[in-house]
């Protein structure tokens, strides 16, 4: 019925995730990007990549129908909204 993800793909996914985790730790702990929120942004960027990989491969979104992708995206989009508007208030108060 649905796509079966073989062992070696799962292993590759895991390896990538582990490598990215190490990157997160190293960049956050030992690379100082100076003032501002650059370290934060970098860490969030890597975390987003990791989340995308989990969503795509472990959670099979890559092989899944449009609808489930849309549902996942929908959650994220509305979350972005909550973020966006709350910040507009806080930063311009």
């Amino acid at each position: 019925m649905a796509h079966i993800v073989p062992l070696n793909v799962n292993i590759k996914t895991l390896t990538t995730l582990v490598v990215l985790t190490i990157t997160t730790v190293v960049t956050a702990k030992y690379v100082d990007l100076g003032h501002g929120h650059y370290n934060l942004l970098l860490a969030m960027f890597i975390a987003s990549i990791k989340a995308t990989i989990v969503l795509g491969w472990f959670m099979h979104l890559k092989y899944d129908g449009m609808m489930n992708r849309a549902i996942a995206l929908c959650g994220l989009a509305f979350l972005a909204l909550l973020f966006g508007f709350s910040y507009i208030d806080l930063f311009y108060r």
């Binding site: 997160t24 975390a47 989340a51 969503l55 491969w57 472990f58 959670m59 489930n68 979350l79």
Partner: protein, 231 residues
Amino acid sequence: MSTAKIDRRVEHSHHFSSMQQEYEAGKQGVWIFMATEIMMFGGLFVGYFIYRFAYPEMYIAGGDSLNWVQGAANTLVLLVSSFTMAQAVTETMKGDNKKALKYVIVTTACAFIFLIVKYFEYSAKVHHGLFPGFDMWNPDMEYIKSHIRDTSLLANFSAENLRLFFVLYFAMTGLHGIHILIGIGLMFWIMKRLKNNEFSSKYYTAVEGVGLYWHIVDIIWIFLFPLMYLI
């Protein structure tokens, strides 16, 4: 069939018209629940960022006082468990309940390891008076000072604000921990059914659903780890 006494599903429930339809419906239902999970944790993340920009130094101080090695270890544990869970789904889809069961057991073991590490972390925090409730808040400032990476940050720093960091730390990791506990419950349910050989290449919705749930729990941790421990 020779395995007649085993309650193996070959027939869809009465209100569906095919196994395929039932499978897709079930999976979609789980996905929608995942969207609600995203929104729920999302609210906490919004709170996190708002206060982070309001009191950056307290987040640095708070984060530095956490044990990032334990955090990183837990991240790896969860990643591995995600992998074994994904593999369990793969095996179930192939119809091999036995192999799948083994993978689920490893996943559950990882979940327990995670909780044990968490227990040590929490008790260390409580020990240093960093639990912001039940009148236990009594921060050990020496401890904070000895961990902070840049002592100049302590200049404009108040214990009250530090409290906010630990509020969010305990709220977010606590809620995440509760999800892990629920996950463990679901794992046991799945294990029982795998043991009974209930799944087949035609019917594996439950395993896949639990898998999806487990991966979402992992994703949340992927964000929590750098935000709490590293940055």
